[in-house]
């Protein structure tokens, strides 16, 4: 399980961004099945309205799965040590999620060199939906 990261990374380096297609009801239904999150607030409009929402909205973990790809495509999953997010705002139907990140810090921990990545997911208007970090082992 090798890392994809090349030597010479430095603080401020940007990770290649990923943009996902607009969130649809189909996305939410499929993700409910694939992720085992069957909370009806994400898939049943009637239920969502009863909860005081205008409509169904995306599972937070859908955005987190998207965001993880920015990290694993850049560093590989084998290099991943930790990964965390805050769900800053609700992701709505039609939102086009763009995931991006940069190297925030490089440090030594548990006998290896690691980078702390600052990552976020935002919609097409630049509204931040998830904000977080990942720690990866680096050469």
């Amino acid at each position: 399980m090798t890392t994809k990261i090349h030597d010479g990374i430095k603080v401020g380096d940007e990770l290649p961004a990923i943009t996902k297609p607009p969130v649809t009801r189909t996305t939410l239904a499929l993700f409910a099945g694939a992720s085992n999150d069957h909370n009806p607030i994400h898939i049943d409009t009637d239920f969502a309205r009863k909860c005081g929402m205008d409509d169904v909205f995306a599972q937070g973990m859908l955005g987190m799965a998207y965001l993880g790809q920015v990290v694993t495509h850049w560093a590989s999953q084998a290099a991943l040590r930790s990964f965390g997010v805050r769900f800053v705002a609700i992701t709505h139907l039609g939102d086009e999620i763009r995931c991006s990140g940069k190297v925030g810090d490089i440090f030594e921990q548990d006998g290896e060199r690691r980078a702390r990545l600052e990552i976020q997911a935002a919609n097409q208007h630049g509204d931040v939906k998830l904000s977080g970090f990942a720690v990866v082992a680096v050469p």
Partner: protein, 147 residues
């Protein structure tokens, strides 16, 4: 308000199999393009025993029970008022298709915010595999809106 007696209590304990079919379904649904998540040959070439579970999949494994949200009902959370506030994972060993993972979750804290308009529920989950190795840990914070 959630009874504070739940702080420190184990609220869920389950064992579940990591299945190739579900990993592929998950990868397709999130538009994964890295073949290690769908193609076993690619996974093996990358050093994995079989398809690896993606970074957030422990969360899904923890829901692999007949009544996944029942633990929240049990402690008195109204699902209609529940939002996911934050999520963290720590990774110790790869999790791959064919593994059997045991997940144990406990409530670590319950905090009132904004004069009781919001409640935060902090939960921590440990995951061990069929060899009794600790493979990961996750922390979730849930927001219950009372406003």
């Amino acid at each position: 308000m959630i009874d504070k007696k739940w702080i420190g209590e184990e609220v869920s304990n389950l064992s579940t199999d990591v299945e190739k079919g579900q990993l592929r379904f998950f990868a397709r649904t999130v538009g994964e393009t890295d073949p290690i998540y769908t193609d076993e040959d690619a996974a093996r070439a990358a050093g994995y025993r079989s398809l690896p579970a993606p970074p957030t999949f422990l969360f899904s494994l923890n829901l692999a029970q007949s009544d996944p949200l029942g633990k929240y009902l049990k402690i008195g959370v109204d699902l209609a008022r529940l939002l996911h506030g934050g999520q963290e994972f720590e990774y110790y060993k790869p999790i791959c298709a064919g593994d059997r993972i045991t997940l144990k979750s406990r409530v670590v804290d319950i905090v009132e915010k904004k004069g009781g308009a919001l409640e935060l529920l902090f939960e921590e989950t440990t995951a061990t595999n069929q060899h009794n190795e600790l493979v990961g840990r996750m922390k979730q914070s849930l927001v219950i809106r009372h406003g």
